[in-house]
């Protein structure tokens, strides 16, 4: 299970960075989304995957008796998903506006900011 996760995360990171390095604005967004998901899965994996052991202390004892699924990474991922969702929707609107104003989706042609003014 862990190995499968590790491979998926690796592929997501690689694909995300590859897409960000492309010149098209739309692919930039796809790259951002992939990278965000990769990071979320990474938190999940590094919080140790434990199957079928909810973090609930049995009634008769006061401490955990065996390994349990750590709830903290899930809280972190939830936060991170919400944040990256917000950022991604902002990115889509931004790219749409940029496309409308600049009239290109090629990042190489976006060099008005580097011109001498």
């Amino acid at each position: 299970m862990e190995i499968l996760f590790a491979i998926i995360i690796g592929v997501l990171y690689a694909a995300g960075i590859y897409m960000i390095l492309r010149r098209s604005l739309v692919k930039l967004i796809i790259g951002i989304i992939l990278l965000g998901n990769g990071a979320n899965l990474l938190i999940f994996l590094l919080g140790r995957i434990t199957e079928g052991a909810p973090p609930i202390i049995p009634e008769e004892s006061k401490v955990f008796l065996e390994a349990y699924a750590d709830p903290v990474p899930q809280a972190l991922i939830l936060t991170a998903i919400v944040i990256s969702f917000g950022l991604q929707s902002f990115a889509i609107i931004l790219v749409k506006r940029a496309h409308k104003v600049v009239k290109t989706d090629d990042l190489d042609e976006m060099n008005a900011t580097d011109e001498d003014s």
């Binding site: 990474l42 750590d70 903290v72 990474p73 950022l87 976006m110 900011t113 580097d114």
Partner: protein
């Protein structure tokens, strides 16, 4: 929110809010100065389980500076921003940005720091795109991509750190990271943090987004960005590398090399620029180098120099971008080639602008001079002569750049600037709007002068901060002692 379309009410609320913020911060600052580090456990969840907020003297100094710069920019934007932008919620977003900055300075939890960073960047995205001009949108695309990438790298680093230690509280991490046996993995995590914060702080190989975007928004926005946003990255670097990843020779070496290259490349970049705002953007990068250099040398004197430089730089950079906005309003251009004759037209204003410009260079007794003494002393003590050379070289380049700027903008006979018809020129404005332009610059110039002439007090402050930073046990105790005797 209640006054979405009533700009005047927004202006007044914003300025009053900033004044209140400043007053409260001064109160908290003096309280912490007398009583030592304060902590707050959110929801009474004891550290390291809950989210901790820690106000040590370093954090509260930065919060104080945020309040000062925030007040100045709030007054400045009340008169410099055109109503169209204000109508789309400029002030609420601006204050959200300040909220994020304060949160990032005060939090004692690394994931919480990530959340504050996101609040900062999402408000800065809105501020940088507000108005929707072509250059703004292009700059925003670059700014967005790089900052998002930085956040993701930061998040990855948090994930790895959590996997290693199972903790997110920074004080707890400081204890647990020291105990981890797999040092290579700790080093990799540290480098991930360095890259993530480095992009935000705009250090050497990662700064290219900054000069491509900082000159595009209106000057009020550039002022708060230039003064505070990159400094959050520097703050996070200092915090993480003095608290969590301590005493790693490789990392210190890496920081030194990065700092030296940042000093060189930022300085040289500033030399060839023509746009006033772009010159200042490159100077931001150049001067980030000083702070990283102090961190890399990692002695108490060096850290004190870094803190002093940070204090000086936040005030001066905010001021300079407001100055560039003033020049733009008066002359209708920010191109150095076209500008000129400012001194003969506005001698008093020129004298005022002289203060921040030459504070930046660090001509004694102005404020930029004092931290450099500490940094140079420290580089002698640690025998890092490359660092010494870089400090002197970068100071020299800054001097050349500022002298060139002074000659071109203030002394030279003006070139041809086309009169713009629908442009809001400075001399056409009413008395109060003019005051709104000049008052914040005067205010920050006085603060700069105080830092310069009252250098002794600032030196005491930065030495104390440096002491607290060098001894990370103090921070750890402050977080955990409150647990043992909750009030």
């Amino acid at each position: 929110m209640f006054f979405w379309y009533r700009i005047n009410a927004q202006r007044i609320i914003s300025i009053l809010g900033s004044i209140l913020h400043l007053g409260l911060t001064i109160y908290v600052f003096s309280f912490i100065w007398n009583n030592g580090t304060q902590t707050l456990q959110a929801g009474s969840w004891e550290a390291p389980f809950g989210i901790t907020f820690v106000a040590d003297s370093f954090s509260i100094t930065l919060v104080l500076l945020t309040a000062i710069a925030g007040l100045a920019v709030s007054i400045f934007s009340a008169s410099s921003m055109i109503p169209d932008r204000l109508r789309f919620g400029y002030f609420p977003i601006f204050h959200f940005l300040l909220l994020g900055l304060n949160g990032a300075f005060l939090t004692g939890d690394i994931f919480n720091l990530y959340v504050w960073f996101e609040i900062i960047i999402i408000s800065s995205f809105v501020l940088i795109t507000l108005g929707g001009e072509k250059a703004q949108l292009e700059g925003a695309v670059k700014y967005f991509t790089l900052n998002f990438l930085a956040s993701m790298i930061f998040l990855t680093a948090i994930a790895v750190l959590y996997g290693l230690t199972g903790s997110l509280n920074m004080a707890d991490l400081a204890i647990k990271v020291a105990e981890v046996e797999n040092r290579a993995l700790v080093q990799i995590t540290a480098v991930l943090f360095l890259i993530g914060f480095g992009i935000k702080a705009a250090v050497f190989p990662l700064y290219f987004w900054l000069p491509a975007s900082y000159h595009t928004p209106p000057s009020a926005v550039s002022a708060i960005f230039g003064g505070l946003l990159t400094k959050v990255g520097v703050y996070a670097l200092i915090r993480v590398f003095t608290l969590i990843f301590v005493g790693d020779a490789f990392l210190d070496e890496l920081l030194l090399v990065i700092a030296i290259l940042t000093l060189f490349s930022g300085g040289v970049g500033a030399l060839i620029q023509n746009n006033v705002k772009k010159v200042f953007s490159y100077l931001i990068i150049c001067h980030i180098g000083y702070m990283i250099l102090g961190l890399g040398m990692f002695t108490e004197v060096a850290i004190a120099g870094t803190i002093f430089y940070l204090i000086h730089d936040i005030i001066v950079k905010t001021n300079l971008f407001m100055v560039s906005g003033l020049i733009y309003r008066i002359k209708g251009s920010s191109s150095m080639r076209a500008l000129g004759g400012f001194y003969s037209d506005y001698p008093k204003l020129s004298l005022l602008i002289f203060i921040p410009l030459f504070s930046l260079v660090g001509i004694p007794p102005l404020s930029g001079f004092w931290p450099k003494i500490s940094l140079i002393t420290a580089s002698f003590n640690t025998e890092s002569y490359w660092g010494l050379a870089a400090i002197i070289f970068a100071s020299f380049i800054t001097l050349v750049v500022i002298a060139k700027l002074w000659a071109e903008v203030f002394w030279k006979n003006p070139g041809e600037i086309r009169k713009r018809i629908k442009f809001d020129y400075f001399h056409k404005m009413g008395k109060y709007r003019k005051l709104g332009f000049v008052a914040p610059i005067v205010f920050l110039s006085f603060v700069s002068l105080y830092i310069g002439f009252g250098a002794e007090n600032i030196q005491i402050l930065s030495s104390r901060v440096a002491q607290e930073l060098m001894d990370n046990q103090l921070y750890i105790d402050a977080v955990f002692n409150n647990v043992q005797n909750p009030e």
